[in-house]
Subunit: 308 residues, 2 copies
Amino acid sequence: MISVFGHLNPDTDAITAALVYAHFLTRTGTPATPYRLGELNHETAYVLREAGVNAPDLLAALPVGSSVALVDHNESAQSAPNLAELDVRYVVDHHKLGDLSTAQPAFLRFEPLGCTGTLLLKLHREAGLSVEPTDARLLLSAILSDTLQFRSPTTTDTDRDAAAFLAPIAGISDVEGYAMQMFAAKSDLGDMPADKLLKMDYKVFPLGSETWGIGMVETTNPAYVFGRQAELLSAMQAEKAASKLSGILLGVVDILNETNRTLIVSDTEAEVVQAAFGVPTEQHLADLGKLISRKKQIVPALEAYFAQ
Amino acid sequence: MISVFGHLNPDTDAITAALVYAHFLTRTGTPATPYRLGELNHETAYVLREAGVNAPDLLAALPVGSSVALVDHNESAQSAPNLAELDVRYVVDHHKLGDLSTAQPAFLRFEPLGCTGTLLLKLHREAGLSVEPTDARLLLSAILSDTLQFRSPTTTDTDRDAAAFLAPIAGISDVEGYAMQMFAAKSDLGDMPADKLLKMDYKVFPLGSETWGIGMVETTNPAYVFGRQAELLSAMQAEKAASKLSGILLGVVDILNETNRTLIVSDTEAEVVQAAFGVPTEQHLADLGKLISRKKQIVPALEAYFAQ
């Protein structure tokens, strides 16, 4: 039995990709079970509720040598804690290749697309498998989520085509309206403690010899987030100390206006952000303008800075 | 323009995969040029001559940031010397994933198949592209070479099906006879200095904290190779010293009987081979019996030994 899971602090793509790829592997003769590496965010909970699908179980510690499939990630810092001891047999991802290695020849499928869901649709087509309506809804949701409904610069024509193909199978005629409901669910943060908000969509990256944590809050209501700025800065400071990070950032993306204002916790981050992005920082904020993609814009700029 | 190349000390799969994948990328809208990272072996020279295809040019030093496609390999020790400075955009391979990383999301396609050529056929089919007769001949040759005409334990049903599909397109009705001619060409080693014979199909592997070089001579005429044992042992000793290796092995595979007797240069290698494979060594030889695949049998056993 293969255990299939997406990254820590899962988003909609990480959860739905685990569900759909486990189903795909099982349908093609390799029994597989989906898992998650953390709590669902509000958007993902909305997506699963609307689809009538239960959340996958939280991954328990896997014995050494267990066979696994990674979706929507490949770096050890974003994966199961004992990844190095596991037997990685399958990877389906749309991120850059990090520190992964495999003990044996494996199935690896990486493409520079906006969403793992788009690649999963491709796998179905190549295998001559129809996409079942529930899977179509999950994949469409992932594409809308990861591309911010095609607003993110990571969006490709293949993602747009995939969404157009999936919507009728999913029985969703008003894609725009469905996306708005997803984003409203994601923006419903009223009951969430600041440390959870920070970790909702949060990844750790090696940058040169340093290690940085970068969270993103994508919301239709940025004013609410900035109203909690003091709390969030405290949570960032605490996480930075607890995880011995060199730096920590929290980008607040206004989904509808496609802009990013990023919280800056100390002079260390301020200096790096000023140099890497050429923007001023003040009042613990840097206006990164249209740089809304962590993967395609924020991390590459930081990597270029630390590679100097 | 993308530069496409296979591993150092290229074999038939490394050369033909570079030729066919460069052609594939160009046909699908991404101009690409094939290169090689070393001299052709006699088998590959025979294959290209029969196909009426020129050898790809030797790769010149690539400027930092050049876009490249790797075929039939992914580890830096087997690749262009400045791989870490290059922009890896595409990888098509059937080996385990080693120390590769990419600066950006890339196209990676790895499957546990007997030959890169089999995977390249799959890419054509997925793209709805016909395989041209010359490409079919190159891919078929690679499959016959890498699987030792389906004798190697790396062979999968997908490789067999691919060969059966390609043979009529290539216009090769007597696949058995063609394979025998390839192997005879490979076994025609009369004019080859011992150091070239060692390096003909040679790869360097990190094993625990050590670095080992492992060559393979696949031949229909092992008696000829063992007749040159003293020369080969000297060449191995010299290479071990020059490249500061912890150990070096040269496996001599009798293609037709599917057996491997491996040359042992010193007590260091003898101890490891005795422990890792449970066989005695004498007269600078270890009889590894049916263990004829470096990738699937020799290296995994050594890795398991060094992981203890």
